[in-house]
Amino acid sequence: MKQLVIISGKGGTGKTSLAACFTALEKENGTAPVVVDCDVDAANLHLLLGGETVATASFSGPELAVIDRGRVADREKCETSCRFGAISGLEVDPFLCVGCGVCGLVCGEGAVRMEKREAGTIYDRNTPYGKLFHAELEPGRPGFGGLITALRTRGEEEALRRPGSLLLIDGSPGIGCQVIASLTGCDLALVVTEPGKGAFHDFERIYQLLRFFGMKTRIVINRSDLDRSLLRETERYCFSHDLEIAGRIPFNDIFRQAAVAGRPAVELGDEKLNSLIRGIYQNVRSAL
Protein backbone atom coordinates (compact mmCIF):
# COMPACT_ATOMS: atom_id res chain seq x y z
CA MET A 1 0.00 0.00 0.00
CA LYS A 2 1.39 3.38 -1.07
CA GLN A 3 0.51 6.52 0.86
CA LEU A 4 0.43 9.95 -0.73
CA VAL A 5 -0.22 13.09 1.32
CA ILE A 6 -1.14 16.45 -0.19
CA ILE A 7 -0.22 19.45 1.98
CA SER A 8 0.46 23.14 1.56
CA GLY A 9 1.69 25.19 4.51
CA LYS A 10 -0.52 28.10 3.52
CA GLY A 11 -4.22 27.38 3.30
CA GLY A 12 -6.35 27.85 0.21
CA THR A 13 -3.71 26.93 -2.35
CA GLY A 14 -5.81 24.16 -3.88
CA LYS A 15 -4.96 20.98 -1.92
CA THR A 16 -8.50 19.72 -1.74
CA SER A 17 -9.26 20.55 -5.39
CA LEU A 18 -6.18 18.65 -6.47
CA ALA A 19 -6.91 15.75 -4.11
CA ALA A 20 -10.36 15.37 -5.68
CA CYS A 21 -8.82 15.34 -9.18
CA PHE A 22 -6.24 12.73 -8.16
CA THR A 23 -9.02 10.58 -6.69
CA ALA A 24 -10.99 10.70 -9.95
CA LEU A 25 -7.88 9.98 -12.06
CA GLU A 26 -6.80 7.09 -9.87
CA LYS A 27 -10.24 5.53 -10.24
CA GLU A 28 -10.09 6.06 -13.98
CA ASN A 29 -6.77 4.19 -14.03
CA GLY A 30 -8.42 1.09 -12.67
CA THR A 31 -8.16 0.91 -8.89
CA ALA A 32 -10.40 2.99 -6.68
CA PRO A 33 -8.24 4.71 -4.06
CA VAL A 34 -8.96 4.99 -0.35
CA VAL A 35 -9.10 8.66 0.58
CA VAL A 36 -8.65 10.22 4.01
CA ASP A 37 -9.49 13.87 4.62
CA CYS A 38 -7.14 14.88 7.43
CA ASP A 39 -8.07 18.55 7.27
CA VAL A 40 -10.48 17.94 10.13
CA ASP A 41 -10.79 21.63 10.82
CA ALA A 42 -12.10 22.43 7.35
CA ALA A 43 -13.05 19.08 5.87
CA ASN A 44 -14.30 19.84 2.38
CA LEU A 45 -13.28 16.91 0.20
CA HIS A 46 -16.62 15.14 0.63
CA LEU A 47 -18.28 18.18 -0.96
CA LEU A 48 -16.38 17.38 -4.18
CA LEU A 49 -16.52 13.58 -4.12
CA GLY A 50 -20.19 13.25 -3.18
CA GLY A 51 -21.53 9.82 -2.33
CA GLU A 52 -23.13 8.90 0.95
CA THR A 53 -22.20 8.16 4.51
CA VAL A 54 -22.46 4.45 5.29
CA ALA A 55 -21.29 4.51 8.91
CA THR A 56 -20.33 6.96 11.61
CA ALA A 57 -18.29 6.52 14.75
CA SER A 58 -17.76 8.93 17.58
CA PHE A 59 -14.23 9.76 18.50
CA SER A 60 -13.10 10.48 22.03
CA GLY A 61 -10.38 13.03 22.50
CA PRO A 62 -8.37 13.88 25.58
CA GLU A 63 -10.21 13.12 28.80
CA LEU A 64 -11.88 15.77 30.92
CA ALA A 65 -11.37 16.20 34.65
CA VAL A 66 -14.61 16.14 36.62
CA ILE A 67 -14.41 17.41 40.19
CA ASP A 68 -16.70 16.29 42.99
CA ARG A 69 -16.75 19.64 44.77
CA GLY A 70 -18.04 18.29 48.07
CA ARG A 71 -14.99 16.09 48.50
CA VAL A 72 -12.32 18.71 47.85
CA ALA A 73 -10.57 19.63 51.10
CA ASP A 74 -8.02 22.13 49.80
CA ARG A 75 -9.58 24.24 47.10
CA GLU A 76 -6.51 26.38 46.49
CA LYS A 77 -4.26 23.35 46.06
CA CYS A 78 -6.71 21.91 43.56
CA GLU A 79 -6.99 25.09 41.50
CA THR A 80 -3.31 26.01 41.46
CA SER A 81 -2.28 22.48 40.48
CA CYS A 82 -3.58 23.10 36.96
CA ARG A 83 -0.92 24.64 34.77
CA PHE A 84 -3.53 25.46 32.14
CA GLY A 85 -5.71 27.56 34.44
CA ALA A 86 -8.66 25.32 33.67
CA ILE A 87 -10.00 25.10 37.22
CA SER A 88 -11.76 28.12 38.65
CA GLY A 89 -14.28 27.99 41.49
CA LEU A 90 -13.72 24.21 41.37
CA GLU A 91 -15.35 24.20 37.94
CA VAL A 92 -13.37 22.75 35.05
CA ASP A 93 -13.36 24.75 31.81
CA PRO A 94 -13.71 22.04 29.13
CA PHE A 95 -11.92 24.22 26.59
CA LEU A 96 -8.84 24.71 28.76
CA CYS A 97 -8.58 21.22 30.29
CA VAL A 98 -6.11 19.09 28.32
CA GLY A 99 -6.86 15.94 30.33
CA CYS A 100 -3.37 15.61 31.84
CA GLY A 101 -4.72 14.33 35.16
CA VAL A 102 -2.51 16.44 37.45
CA CYS A 103 -5.48 17.75 39.50
CA GLY A 104 -6.38 14.14 40.28
CA LEU A 105 -2.79 13.43 41.22
CA VAL A 106 -2.58 16.19 43.83
CA CYS A 107 -6.02 15.57 45.28
CA GLY A 108 -5.73 13.61 48.51
CA GLU A 109 -9.47 13.01 48.72
CA GLY A 110 -9.97 11.32 45.35
CA ALA A 111 -12.43 14.02 44.29
CA VAL A 112 -11.31 14.05 40.66
CA ARG A 113 -12.25 11.50 38.08
CA MET A 114 -11.22 11.57 34.43
CA GLU A 115 -14.09 11.23 32.01
CA LYS A 116 -14.10 10.27 28.39
CA ARG A 117 -15.41 13.00 26.17
CA GLU A 118 -16.56 13.03 22.63
CA ALA A 119 -14.36 15.17 20.43
CA GLY A 120 -15.83 14.53 17.05
CA THR A 121 -17.34 12.12 14.56
CA ILE A 122 -15.64 9.96 11.94
CA TYR A 123 -17.60 9.41 8.72
CA ASP A 124 -17.17 6.37 6.51
CA ARG A 125 -18.38 7.34 3.06
CA ASN A 126 -18.90 5.51 -0.23
CA THR A 127 -18.23 7.85 -3.13
CA PRO A 128 -18.38 7.15 -6.87
CA TYR A 129 -14.54 7.25 -6.81
CA GLY A 130 -13.72 5.12 -3.82
CA LYS A 131 -13.89 5.05 -0.07
CA LEU A 132 -13.58 8.33 1.85
CA PHE A 133 -12.99 8.77 5.56
CA HIS A 134 -13.49 12.22 6.97
CA ALA A 135 -14.24 13.75 10.33
CA GLU A 136 -15.97 16.61 11.97
CA LEU A 137 -14.37 17.96 15.11
CA GLU A 138 -16.38 19.64 17.85
CA PRO A 139 -15.57 23.37 17.60
CA GLY A 140 -12.88 24.60 19.96
CA ARG A 141 -11.74 21.12 20.96
CA PRO A 142 -8.12 20.09 21.21
CA GLY A 143 -6.96 16.69 20.04
CA PHE A 144 -6.36 16.95 16.31
CA GLY A 145 -3.39 14.62 16.36
CA GLY A 146 -5.31 11.75 17.90
CA LEU A 147 -8.26 12.17 15.58
CA ILE A 148 -6.02 12.18 12.52
CA THR A 149 -4.23 9.04 13.63
CA ALA A 150 -7.61 7.36 14.15
CA LEU A 151 -8.76 8.47 10.68
CA ARG A 152 -5.59 7.24 9.03
CA THR A 153 -5.88 3.89 10.78
CA ARG A 154 -9.38 3.47 9.32
CA GLY A 155 -8.03 4.35 5.89
CA GLU A 156 -5.07 1.97 6.19
CA GLU A 157 -7.30 -0.94 7.24
CA GLU A 158 -9.53 -0.29 4.26
CA ALA A 159 -6.61 0.04 1.83
CA LEU A 160 -5.11 -3.24 3.05
CA ARG A 161 -8.37 -4.98 2.22
CA ARG A 162 -8.14 -3.66 -1.35
CA PRO A 163 -4.84 -4.85 -2.81
CA GLY A 164 -3.12 -2.32 -5.04
CA SER A 165 -5.14 0.63 -3.81
CA LEU A 166 -3.52 3.96 -3.15
CA LEU A 167 -4.09 5.69 0.19
CA LEU A 168 -4.57 9.35 -0.61
CA ILE A 169 -4.43 11.83 2.25
CA ASP A 170 -5.68 15.41 2.05
CA GLY A 171 -3.67 17.21 4.73
CA SER A 172 -4.38 20.39 6.61
CA PRO A 173 -2.73 23.80 6.36
CA GLY A 174 0.01 24.82 8.76
CA ILE A 175 2.99 22.99 10.20
CA GLY A 176 1.63 21.96 13.59
CA CYS A 177 0.25 18.91 15.31
CA GLN A 178 -2.37 17.96 12.73
CA VAL A 179 0.05 18.32 9.83
CA ILE A 180 2.70 16.18 11.52
CA ALA A 181 0.06 13.53 12.25
CA SER A 182 -1.09 13.52 8.62
CA LEU A 183 2.32 13.10 7.03
CA THR A 184 4.34 10.73 9.19
CA GLY A 185 4.86 7.40 7.48
CA CYS A 186 3.70 8.54 4.03
CA ASP A 187 5.67 7.56 0.92
CA LEU A 188 5.47 10.95 -0.73
CA ALA A 189 4.33 14.46 0.14
CA LEU A 190 2.94 16.65 -2.61
CA VAL A 191 3.17 20.31 -1.59
CA VAL A 192 0.74 22.68 -3.28
CA THR A 193 2.02 26.24 -3.21
CA GLU A 194 1.47 29.45 -5.17
CA PRO A 195 3.53 32.51 -6.05
CA GLY A 196 3.17 34.90 -3.13
CA LYS A 197 5.26 36.26 -0.30
CA GLY A 198 3.14 34.59 2.34
CA ALA A 199 2.79 31.35 0.41
CA PHE A 200 6.56 31.19 -0.13
CA HIS A 201 7.31 31.76 3.54
CA ASP A 202 4.86 29.00 4.49
CA PHE A 203 6.32 26.75 1.81
CA GLU A 204 9.81 27.15 3.27
CA ARG A 205 8.46 26.26 6.71
CA ILE A 206 6.61 23.17 5.52
CA TYR A 207 9.68 22.07 3.57
CA GLN A 208 11.82 22.32 6.72
CA LEU A 209 9.31 20.04 8.40
CA LEU A 210 9.40 17.56 5.49
CA ARG A 211 13.17 17.53 5.52
CA PHE A 212 13.11 16.93 9.25
CA PHE A 213 11.05 13.80 8.54
CA GLY A 214 13.21 12.90 5.52
CA MET A 215 10.22 12.73 3.22
CA LYS A 216 10.24 12.37 -0.52
CA THR A 217 8.64 15.54 -1.87
CA ARG A 218 7.12 16.88 -5.08
CA ILE A 219 5.85 20.40 -5.69
CA VAL A 220 2.86 21.82 -7.55
CA ILE A 221 2.70 25.55 -8.18
CA ASN A 222 -0.92 26.64 -8.45
CA ARG A 223 -1.96 30.05 -9.85
CA SER A 224 1.51 30.01 -11.38
CA ASP A 225 0.91 33.06 -13.58
CA LEU A 226 -0.19 35.30 -10.69
CA ASP A 227 3.20 37.00 -10.43
CA ARG A 228 6.26 36.24 -12.51
CA SER A 229 8.99 37.30 -10.08
CA LEU A 230 7.35 35.51 -7.18
CA LEU A 231 7.06 32.39 -9.33
CA ARG A 232 10.80 32.63 -10.04
CA GLU A 233 11.48 32.88 -6.31
CA THR A 234 9.63 29.61 -5.68
CA GLU A 235 11.24 27.89 -8.67
CA ARG A 236 14.74 28.98 -7.64
CA TYR A 237 14.17 27.66 -4.15
CA CYS A 238 13.04 24.31 -5.62
CA PHE A 239 16.08 24.06 -7.91
CA SER A 240 18.56 24.92 -5.19
CA HIS A 241 17.00 22.36 -2.84
CA ASP A 242 16.74 19.66 -5.51
CA LEU A 243 12.98 19.68 -5.26
CA GLU A 244 11.19 18.35 -8.29
CA ILE A 245 8.30 20.45 -9.56
CA ALA A 246 5.56 18.08 -10.71
CA GLY A 247 3.71 20.83 -12.53
CA ARG A 248 2.33 24.34 -12.70
CA ILE A 249 -1.34 25.27 -12.93
CA PRO A 250 -2.19 28.78 -14.16
CA PHE A 251 -4.83 30.98 -12.52
CA ASN A 252 -8.27 29.72 -13.54
CA ASP A 253 -11.86 29.72 -12.46
CA ILE A 254 -12.40 25.97 -12.88
CA PHE A 255 -11.55 25.01 -9.29
CA ARG A 256 -14.16 27.47 -8.01
CA GLN A 257 -16.75 26.20 -10.50
CA ALA A 258 -15.96 22.63 -9.45
CA ALA A 259 -16.50 23.56 -5.79
CA VAL A 260 -19.89 25.07 -6.61
CA ALA A 261 -20.81 22.07 -8.79
CA GLY A 262 -19.57 19.64 -6.14
CA ARG A 263 -17.42 17.63 -8.55
CA PRO A 264 -13.71 17.04 -9.17
CA ALA A 265 -12.40 19.76 -11.52
CA VAL A 266 -11.18 17.22 -14.11
CA GLU A 267 -14.81 16.38 -14.86
CA LEU A 268 -15.69 19.90 -15.90
CA GLY A 269 -14.27 19.34 -19.36
CA ASP A 270 -11.60 22.03 -19.62
CA GLU A 271 -9.13 20.23 -21.90
CA LYS A 272 -6.13 22.43 -21.16
CA LEU A 273 -6.50 22.16 -17.38
CA ASN A 274 -7.24 18.44 -17.61
CA SER A 275 -4.06 17.66 -19.51
CA LEU A 276 -2.03 19.71 -16.99
CA ILE A 277 -3.55 17.90 -14.03
CA ARG A 278 -3.14 14.53 -15.74
CA GLY A 279 0.55 15.34 -16.28
CA ILE A 280 1.00 16.23 -12.61
CA TYR A 281 -0.83 13.09 -11.56
CA GLN A 282 1.39 10.91 -13.74
CA ASN A 283 4.54 12.59 -12.45
CA VAL A 284 3.53 12.00 -8.87
CA ARG A 285 2.24 8.48 -9.47
CA SER A 286 5.49 7.38 -11.09
CA ALA A 287 7.49 8.84 -8.18
CA LEU A 288 5.56 6.79 -5.64
Binding site: S8, G9, K10, G11, G12, T13, V40, D41, A42, A43, N44, L47, R83, F84, F95, V98, G99, C100, G101, V102, L105, V106, L137, P139, G140, R141, P142, G143, F144, G145, S172, P173, G174, I175, G176, C177, V179, I180, E194, P195, G196, K197, G198, A199, H201, D202, R205, Q208, L209, F212, R223, L226, D227, L230, F251, D253, R256, A259, V260, G262
Partner: protein, 277 residues
Protein backbone atom coordinates in the same frame (compact mmCIF):
# COMPACT_ATOMS: atom_id res chain seq x y z
CA UNK B 1 -12.12 47.29 21.31
CA UNK B 2 -10.49 43.97 20.50
CA UNK B 3 -11.51 42.77 17.06
CA UNK B 4 -10.64 39.24 15.91
CA UNK B 5 -10.51 38.31 12.24
CA UNK B 6 -11.07 34.59 11.68
CA UNK B 7 -12.19 32.28 8.89
CA UNK B 8 -12.83 28.58 8.57
CA UNK B 9 -10.88 27.95 5.46
CA UNK B 10 -7.22 28.66 4.84
CA UNK B 11 -6.29 31.18 2.17
CA UNK B 12 -9.62 32.91 2.45
CA UNK B 13 -8.24 36.43 2.93
CA UNK B 14 -8.16 36.72 6.74
CA UNK B 15 -4.75 38.35 6.81
CA UNK B 16 -5.62 40.69 3.93
CA UNK B 17 -8.75 41.89 5.78
CA UNK B 18 -7.04 42.11 9.18
CA UNK B 19 -4.04 44.10 7.95
CA UNK B 20 -6.13 46.38 5.70
CA UNK B 21 -8.53 47.15 8.51
CA UNK B 22 -5.62 47.90 10.84
CA UNK B 23 -3.95 50.20 8.32
CA UNK B 24 -7.11 52.12 7.47
CA UNK B 25 -7.84 52.81 11.14
CA UNK B 26 -4.30 53.25 12.43
CA UNK B 27 -2.49 53.59 14.69
CA UNK B 28 -3.88 50.38 16.15
CA UNK B 29 -2.29 47.34 17.71
CA UNK B 30 -2.00 44.27 15.46
CA UNK B 31 -1.60 40.72 16.79
CA UNK B 32 -0.56 37.92 14.45
CA UNK B 33 -1.98 34.81 16.12
CA UNK B 34 -1.74 32.67 12.99
CA UNK B 35 1.49 31.32 14.45
CA UNK B 36 1.84 28.26 12.20
CA UNK B 37 1.87 30.38 9.06
CA UNK B 38 2.31 34.01 10.14
CA UNK B 39 1.98 36.32 7.15
CA UNK B 40 0.81 39.63 8.59
CA UNK B 41 4.35 41.02 8.42
CA UNK B 42 4.37 40.86 4.62
CA UNK B 43 1.54 43.39 4.57
CA UNK B 44 2.55 45.58 7.52
CA UNK B 45 6.35 45.43 7.15
CA UNK B 46 7.29 45.75 10.82
CA UNK B 47 10.82 46.62 11.96
CA UNK B 48 11.40 44.02 14.64
CA UNK B 49 12.68 45.58 17.88
CA UNK B 50 12.51 42.62 20.15
CA UNK B 51 12.25 38.85 19.74
CA UNK B 52 11.24 36.92 22.83
CA UNK B 53 11.41 33.16 23.17
CA UNK B 54 8.28 31.22 24.09
CA UNK B 55 9.23 28.21 26.18
CA UNK B 56 7.56 25.51 28.20
CA UNK B 57 9.10 23.68 31.19
CA UNK B 58 9.90 20.09 30.20
CA UNK B 59 11.57 17.51 32.46
CA UNK B 60 15.23 16.55 32.39
CA UNK B 61 16.46 13.46 34.21
CA UNK B 62 19.36 13.98 36.59
CA UNK B 63 20.86 10.52 36.93
CA UNK B 64 23.21 11.55 39.70
CA UNK B 65 20.33 12.65 41.91
CA UNK B 66 18.50 9.35 42.16
CA UNK B 67 16.75 6.42 40.62
CA UNK B 68 14.58 6.20 37.51
CA UNK B 69 10.96 6.78 38.25
CA UNK B 70 8.60 4.51 36.28
CA UNK B 71 5.53 6.00 38.00
CA UNK B 72 6.18 9.36 36.35
CA UNK B 73 6.57 7.74 32.93
CA UNK B 74 3.35 5.78 33.45
CA UNK B 75 1.49 8.91 34.46
CA UNK B 76 2.43 10.83 31.32
CA UNK B 77 -0.51 10.51 28.94
CA UNK B 78 1.44 12.04 26.11
CA UNK B 79 4.25 9.52 25.89
CA UNK B 80 6.78 12.28 26.51
CA UNK B 81 8.65 10.42 29.23
CA UNK B 82 9.93 6.85 29.27
CA UNK B 83 11.87 4.85 31.87
CA UNK B 84 14.41 2.70 30.05
CA UNK B 85 16.80 0.67 32.16
CA UNK B 86 18.90 3.07 34.20
CA UNK B 87 17.78 6.11 32.27
CA UNK B 88 14.73 8.26 31.64
CA UNK B 89 14.13 9.47 28.11
CA UNK B 90 12.33 12.74 27.45
CA UNK B 91 10.58 13.53 24.16
CA UNK B 92 10.11 17.27 24.52
CA UNK B 93 7.97 17.67 21.36
CA UNK B 94 5.31 15.47 22.96
CA UNK B 95 5.39 17.18 26.37
CA UNK B 96 2.51 19.54 27.17
CA UNK B 97 4.23 20.74 30.36
CA UNK B 98 1.47 19.69 32.74
CA UNK B 99 4.08 19.21 35.48
CA UNK B 100 2.72 15.85 36.66
CA UNK B 101 6.02 13.98 36.38
CA UNK B 102 7.76 16.37 38.79
CA UNK B 103 5.17 15.60 41.45
CA UNK B 104 5.71 11.86 41.14
CA UNK B 105 9.48 11.75 41.29
CA UNK B 106 11.58 11.91 44.42
CA UNK B 107 12.88 15.42 44.92
CA UNK B 108 15.32 16.61 42.31
CA UNK B 109 15.59 13.59 40.01
CA UNK B 110 13.57 15.38 37.33
CA UNK B 111 14.21 19.05 36.89
CA UNK B 112 12.28 21.47 34.71
CA UNK B 113 14.21 23.01 31.84
CA UNK B 114 12.93 25.58 29.37
CA UNK B 115 12.18 24.15 25.97
CA UNK B 116 11.56 26.65 23.21
CA UNK B 117 8.38 26.21 21.15
CA UNK B 118 8.30 29.53 19.34
CA UNK B 119 8.95 33.26 19.44
CA UNK B 120 7.01 36.48 19.88
CA UNK B 121 8.24 39.39 17.78
CA UNK B 122 7.48 42.97 18.75
CA UNK B 123 7.79 45.88 16.41
CA UNK B 124 6.48 49.14 15.12
CA UNK B 125 5.09 48.75 11.62
CA UNK B 126 4.04 51.34 9.06
CA UNK B 127 1.47 53.98 10.06
CA UNK B 128 2.56 53.62 13.68
CA UNK B 129 1.04 50.16 14.09
CA UNK B 130 2.12 48.33 17.23
CA UNK B 131 2.90 44.85 15.86
CA UNK B 132 3.07 41.69 17.99
CA UNK B 133 3.52 38.49 16.02
CA UNK B 134 3.91 34.88 17.13
CA UNK B 135 5.79 32.19 15.28
CA UNK B 136 5.66 28.48 16.09
CA UNK B 137 9.00 26.69 15.89
CA UNK B 138 9.07 24.21 13.01
CA UNK B 139 8.48 20.73 14.44
CA UNK B 140 6.68 21.95 17.54
CA UNK B 141 3.04 21.15 18.24
CA UNK B 142 2.45 23.77 20.93
CA UNK B 143 0.48 26.18 18.78
CA UNK B 144 -1.83 27.24 21.59
CA UNK B 145 1.04 28.16 23.93
CA UNK B 146 2.54 30.51 21.33
CA UNK B 147 -0.85 32.13 20.72
CA UNK B 148 -1.27 32.62 24.44
CA UNK B 149 2.16 34.25 24.67
CA UNK B 150 1.19 36.69 21.90
CA UNK B 151 -2.03 37.59 23.66
CA UNK B 152 -0.26 38.00 26.99
CA UNK B 153 1.87 40.72 25.37
CA UNK B 154 -1.03 42.86 24.19
CA UNK B 155 -1.55 46.30 25.67
CA UNK B 156 -5.20 46.15 26.81
CA UNK B 157 -5.47 49.94 26.69
CA UNK B 158 -5.14 49.98 22.91
CA UNK B 159 -7.59 49.13 20.20
CA UNK B 160 -6.48 45.82 18.73
CA UNK B 161 -6.96 43.69 15.63
CA UNK B 162 -6.16 39.96 15.93
CA UNK B 163 -5.34 37.85 12.87
CA UNK B 164 -6.48 34.32 13.82
CA UNK B 165 -5.39 30.90 12.54
CA UNK B 166 -7.70 29.12 10.07
CA UNK B 167 -10.32 26.64 11.18
CA UNK B 168 -12.47 26.40 14.26
CA UNK B 169 -10.35 24.31 16.59
CA UNK B 170 -8.58 24.95 19.85
CA UNK B 171 -5.97 27.44 18.51
CA UNK B 172 -8.73 29.57 16.97
CA UNK B 173 -10.68 29.53 20.20
CA UNK B 174 -7.57 30.71 22.04
CA UNK B 175 -7.04 33.51 19.51
CA UNK B 176 -10.63 34.80 19.61
CA UNK B 177 -11.20 34.40 23.36
CA UNK B 178 -11.65 37.76 25.06
CA UNK B 179 -12.40 39.65 21.85
CA UNK B 180 -15.32 42.09 21.66
CA UNK B 181 -16.24 41.19 18.10
CA UNK B 182 -15.18 38.72 15.46
CA UNK B 183 -15.17 39.19 11.71
CA UNK B 184 -15.55 35.90 9.83
CA UNK B 185 -14.00 35.97 6.37
CA UNK B 186 -15.45 33.54 3.83
CA UNK B 187 -15.89 33.00 0.09
CA UNK B 188 -18.98 32.27 -1.99
CA UNK B 189 -18.54 28.52 -2.46
CA UNK B 190 -19.96 25.49 -0.63
CA UNK B 191 -16.48 25.18 0.98
CA UNK B 192 -16.78 28.69 2.36
CA UNK B 193 -20.25 28.00 3.74
CA UNK B 194 -19.26 24.69 5.31
CA UNK B 195 -16.35 26.26 7.17
CA UNK B 196 -18.32 29.38 8.13
CA UNK B 197 -20.79 27.13 9.93
CA UNK B 198 -18.00 25.77 12.12
CA UNK B 199 -16.81 29.28 12.90
CA UNK B 200 -20.27 30.41 13.90
CA UNK B 201 -20.53 27.53 16.39
CA UNK B 202 -17.26 28.66 17.92
CA UNK B 203 -18.51 32.24 18.33
CA UNK B 204 -21.67 30.91 19.99
CA UNK B 205 -19.56 28.97 22.47
CA UNK B 206 -17.45 32.03 23.26
CA UNK B 207 -20.47 34.37 23.21
CA UNK B 208 -18.60 36.77 20.94
CA UNK B 209 -20.76 38.71 18.45
CA UNK B 210 -19.78 38.30 14.83
CA UNK B 211 -20.22 39.53 11.28
CA UNK B 212 -19.23 38.21 7.89
CA UNK B 213 -16.91 39.49 5.17
CA UNK B 214 -17.40 37.78 1.80
CA UNK B 215 -14.17 37.73 -0.18
CA UNK B 216 -14.07 37.06 -3.96
CA UNK B 217 -17.75 37.92 -4.21
CA UNK B 218 -19.85 38.46 -7.31
CA UNK B 219 -19.58 35.05 -8.90
CA UNK B 220 -23.21 34.01 -8.65
CA UNK B 221 -23.30 31.64 -5.65
CA UNK B 222 -25.61 33.10 -2.99
CA UNK B 223 -25.51 30.29 -0.40
CA UNK B 224 -23.57 32.44 2.06
CA UNK B 225 -26.07 35.33 2.05
CA UNK B 226 -29.01 32.98 2.42
CA UNK B 227 -27.44 31.17 5.34
CA UNK B 228 -26.41 34.45 7.03
CA UNK B 229 -30.01 35.70 6.80
CA UNK B 230 -31.27 32.49 8.41
CA UNK B 231 -28.69 32.74 11.17
CA UNK B 232 -29.15 36.47 11.67
CA UNK B 233 -25.47 36.99 11.04
CA UNK B 234 -24.82 40.36 9.36
CA UNK B 235 -22.79 40.49 6.14
CA UNK B 236 -20.69 43.59 6.79
CA UNK B 237 -18.53 43.79 3.69
CA UNK B 238 -17.89 42.17 0.33
CA UNK B 239 -14.65 42.18 -1.61
CA UNK B 240 -15.36 41.58 -5.28
CA UNK B 241 -13.40 38.90 -7.11
CA UNK B 242 -10.50 40.60 -8.87
CA UNK B 243 -7.50 38.82 -10.26
CA UNK B 244 -5.36 41.97 -10.03
CA UNK B 245 -6.14 42.23 -6.33
CA UNK B 246 -5.08 38.60 -5.86
CA UNK B 247 -1.76 39.40 -7.56
CA UNK B 248 -1.30 42.56 -5.44
CA UNK B 249 -2.03 40.65 -2.22
CA UNK B 250 0.51 38.00 -3.24
CA UNK B 251 3.10 40.81 -3.31
CA UNK B 252 2.10 41.97 0.18
CA UNK B 253 -0.15 44.85 -0.78
CA UNK B 254 -3.25 45.49 1.31
CA UNK B 255 -6.70 46.53 0.11
CA UNK B 256 -5.86 50.13 1.00
CA UNK B 257 -2.60 49.97 -0.99
CA UNK B 258 -4.42 48.49 -3.94
CA UNK B 259 -7.22 51.01 -3.98
CA UNK B 260 -7.37 53.99 -1.59
CA UNK B 261 -11.17 53.90 -1.81
CA UNK B 262 -10.93 51.11 0.74
CA UNK B 263 -9.71 53.54 3.44
CA UNK B 264 -13.10 55.24 4.04
CA UNK B 265 -14.91 51.91 3.57
CA UNK B 266 -12.82 50.19 6.22
CA UNK B 267 -13.20 53.14 8.60
CA UNK B 268 -16.93 52.86 8.16
CA UNK B 269 -16.72 49.11 8.77
CA UNK B 270 -15.04 49.78 12.10
CA UNK B 271 -17.79 52.27 13.05
CA UNK B 272 -20.47 49.73 12.06
CA UNK B 273 -18.81 47.09 14.22
CA UNK B 274 -18.75 49.46 17.18
CA UNK B 275 -22.54 49.83 16.96
CA UNK B 276 -22.88 46.04 17.18
CA UNK B 277 -20.97 45.53 20.43
Amino acid sequence: MILAVAGGKGGIGKTLVATSLTLANSPLQFLDCDVEEPNGHFFLRPRIRKTEAVSIPVPRFRKWKGEVCPAAADFCRYGALAAVGEDMLVFPELCVACGGCFLLCPAGTLEPVDYQVGVVKKAVARSGIEYIGGELKVGSQRTTEVIRAVKDSLDPGRETVIDCPPGSGRPVLEAIRGSDFCLLVTEPTPFGLHDLRGNKKLLDILRVPGGVVINRSGTGYDGIQRWCREENLPVLAEIPFDRKLAAAAARGRTLTDYNPDWVPRLRELRETIKTKL
